[in-house]
């Protein structure tokens, strides 16, 4: 039982990071209408930027904060260079473009930072005991930061004019066009929001795992699974599903053969989709 509780706790932490990326993916799906395969590698870029900044300024917090800003700018720049011109093209053209972006970013990261394993300079401490489970300061950091970021995005989506416009463009594109919403501005706002999610997600991942050029790519598939599971276009669904994916894979590792971890996630996904073909909380 204790092991199960710890597995759930572990799953929450991993799920939070998956949720961040999934939230971004669902926004790109809903507003730019395509599957952004570069999501993982965009996260990787921010993680490495934080690494370099830390070696310059010393304080991890300052480095991470600046990296989030720089990372967001990089994401918006990528949108401007690679995706903007294809706004009226088919989703599959954008999909292949995003594959190209993913490969290019991975190559650039490897060229600049090398392929050797790297890590942030963070203190390693024994975890804090909370009843039957143990959590480290890093875990707390991840849970808190993700919650704050997700809350900020929700506030933006449900309480600000930009957010309302974004949801309109995603859910009722024709109506949105007719009511005079500036779709260009909406799209840029969305990419800024995605940039934020992706940068934070990447840095948190870097804190949890270790930095290699494949850092973000490795978590891309669970993120996509979460996006679909939660219902494409549903921000709440994406984050919820991210946590579900995280927790269920950890529990599966405990109860079944851990080698089948990823496979189980997809079986769960398939089962849920058979029951609710549009996802748990479809828009």
């Amino acid at each position: 039982m204790e092991l199960a509780l710890q597995a759930v706790a572990n799953g929450l932490v991993v799920g939070a990071m998956i949720g961040l990326l999934a939230l971004g993916l669902t926004m790109v799906f809903g507003i730019a209408k395509f599957a952004n395969v570069a999501q993982g590698d965009l996260a990787t870029v921010s993680a490495y930027i934080a690494l370099t900044l830390q070696s310059v300024v010393g304080s991890f917090v300052i480095a991470a904060g600046s990296a989030i800003v720089v990372g967001t700018l990089v994401v918006v720049a990528v949108y401007a260079v690679a995706f903007r011109r294809l706004a009226r093209s088919s989703p599959v053209a954008l999909l292949v473009t995003s594959i190209g972006v993913a490969l290019a970013l991975r190559a650039i990261v490897s060229l600049i930072w090398g392929v050797r394993l790297q890590a942030y300079d963070l203190p390693i401490a024994r975890g804090m005991v909370l009843g039957p489970i143990r959590l480290t300061p890093t875990d707390f950091g991840i849970l808190m930061t993700s919650s704050v970021v997700v809350a900020a995005i929700y506030l933006m989506l449900y309480r600000t004019r930009s957010g309302i416009e974004m949801r309109a463009v995603a859910d009722e594109p024709d109506l949105a066009r007719v009511s005079g919403i500036n779709s260009r501005r909406v799209i840029i706002t969305m990419w800024i929001a995605n940039g934020l999610l992706v940068s934070v997600g990447g840095i948190l991942l870097g804190m949890k795992a270790a930095l290699t050029p494949l850092l973000g790519w490795n978590i891309l598939l669970p993120a996509f699974a979460a996006t679909i599971l939660g219902g494409i276009g549903s921000p709440v669904g994406a984050v919820t599903a991210g946590i579900v994916v995280g927790v269920s894979t950890e529990l599966a590792a405990l109860l079944l053969n851990p080698a089948y971890k990823q496979a189980v996630a997809f079986i769960v996904l398939a089962a849920v989709l058979l029951w609710r073909p549009r996802g748990l909380l479809a828009a």
Binding site: L3, S110, L117, R134, A209, A210, A253, L254, N257, Q262
Partner: protein, 429 residues
């Protein structure tokens, strides 16, 4: 019906241009003087690349995992090959011929390995393919090298490589996973450990070593409480670690790779684990120690295929390697293995008097093992060979005595990490 409009023609023309451009690019001459001097690799009637005339350079293909899963090791392997070739050429080269290397990336992908090998053999005229790392790359490439009659030397672990029907042209300078696992299991038993839990990455190499470890350890009389297998490339392994800790072992054998080993050792420490660890050196190396600091790795034992850091060849390679790459040699166990491949190949060519694969293979078998005068470098070996003497090359990675299948039983070195430093404990012999 007008099926072909001008638009369609325009599209097809553009496509044609693109296709032609790409094919032209594919036919671009390579930088190898041997190829241009003879007008490209010539092929004898049965299709095998003919050994070019004396005086011509010998082309060696380096097919390493420069990207992909093996990316952390590939660059170092290529560097070691470069260093070895420079040494060989400085001593005049086998049969007085220069050795030239063409580097290709197999991206740790069997399909790319096949295409890379096909290019090396058929476009560059390589007489040997060295340094394949992933077992699947080696097994995919072997049919090609065997067919072309060129030497293949690898650092892979799959036991099936032992039984390849290869006319003595395939060699591995490491050890098969089975042998490695067995060797280290015996060493642990001799150390007095009796209750072990194994935590293994599901990849073929690590599972192979883990299973071999388990069966040997149990044969010796020890107990393997549980074998926990984990998925590759995960950001966290807490759950798996806790399963392992729940079995309360004396020692945990961690059969993994650098990224997952780093995460596992860190998370185990964070979970408050108080257990001894054993792992392979390529998984827990200086970089991991630098990343995690001395505490999470205190007391961890590591083993690998370097029997003796003081060995002549090793010491020599170490200096050159650190100069060339700026990284410590101990970090990349595959580098000495590749270095030895080059030296053995060059000496084999010298002894066989030809670059014909099976003949060189026979020669390599002999020079790798006793009887013979011990030599530790190409220069030494070539001198004695020209005097008509038998030699026994002991390399950077160990004595390397090949058996008739092209395998060897490695002598493993064992280290223990104490206060962040690797202290040599002894060998598995």
């Amino acid at each position: 019906m007008n099926r072909r409009t001008s638009a369609t023609i325009a599209v097809r023309t553009r496509l044609g241009v693109v296709a032609v451009a790409l094919i032209l690019a594919a036919c671009a001459p390579t930088s190898s003087p041997a190829a241009s001097a003879t007008g490209g690799p010539s092929e004898s009637p049965d299709g095998t690349p003919a050994s070019t005339a004396a005086g011509e350079a010998i082309i060696v293909g380096a097919l390493n995992p420069l990207t992909g899963e093996g990316g952390a090791y590939g660059a170092g392997m290529a560097a070691a090959i470069k260093i070895a070739v420079e040494e060989v050429n400085a001593a005049g080269g086998p049969l007085g011929r220069t050795v030239e290397v063409v580097y290709e990336d197999d991206a740790t992908d069997p399909d790319q390995a096949v295409r890379g090998a096909e290019k090396l053999i058929n476009v560059d005229g390589a007489q040997a393919i060295l340094g394949t790392w992933a077992s699947s790359s080696t097994l995919a490439v072997a049919p090609l090298t065997i067919e072309a009659g060129v030497i293949e030397m690898n650092t892979s672990g799959n036991p099936d490589i032992t039984t390849l029907d290869d006319n003595d042209t395939v060699f591995r300078t490491g050890g098969s996973d089975k042998i490695q696992g067995a060797v280290i299991a015996r060493a642990m038993y001799e150390q007095g450990t009796r209750r072990i839990t194994i935590l293994a990455n599901q990849q073929a190499g690590t599972i192979g070593a883990a299973e071999a470890f388990q069966s040997t350890f149990e044969e010796e009389g020890g107990e393997v409480i549980e074998l926990v297998v984990y998925a590759d490339n995960q950001p966290s392994y807490r759950t798996e670690i806790q399963q392992v800790l729940a079995t309360d072992p004396e020692l945990v054998f961690l059969a993994g790779y650098q990224p997952d080993a780093t995460i596992i050792l860190r998370e185990a420490f964070e979970l408050g684990a108080d257990v001894s660890w054993l792992s392979q050196l390529f998984a827990v190396n200086q970089q991991v120690v630098d990343t995690l600091g001395p505490e999470p790795v205190e007391g961890v034992q590591t083993y690998d295929l370097v029997a003796d850091e003081e060995a002549e060849a090793y010491a020599r390679l170490k200096a050159a390697y650190e100069d060339e790459t700026g990284a410590p040699l101990l970090e990349n166990i595959y580098a000495p293995l590749c270095y030895d491949q080059v030296i053995l190949y060059a000496l084999g060519v010298e002894m066989a008097g030809t670059t014909d694969g099976p003949a060189v293979g026979q020669a390599i078998l002999e020079i790798s093992r006793p009887p013979g005068e011990k030599v530790f470098s190409f220069a030494e070996g070539v001198e004695l060979l020209r005097e008509g003497m038998d030699i026994d090359y002991d390399g950077a990675s160990g004595p390397i005595d090949f058996d008739d299948t092209g395998d060897q039983t490695p002598v493993m070195g064992i280290w223990q990490i104490v206060s962040g430093e690797f202290e040599f404990q002894g060998t598995s012999e």
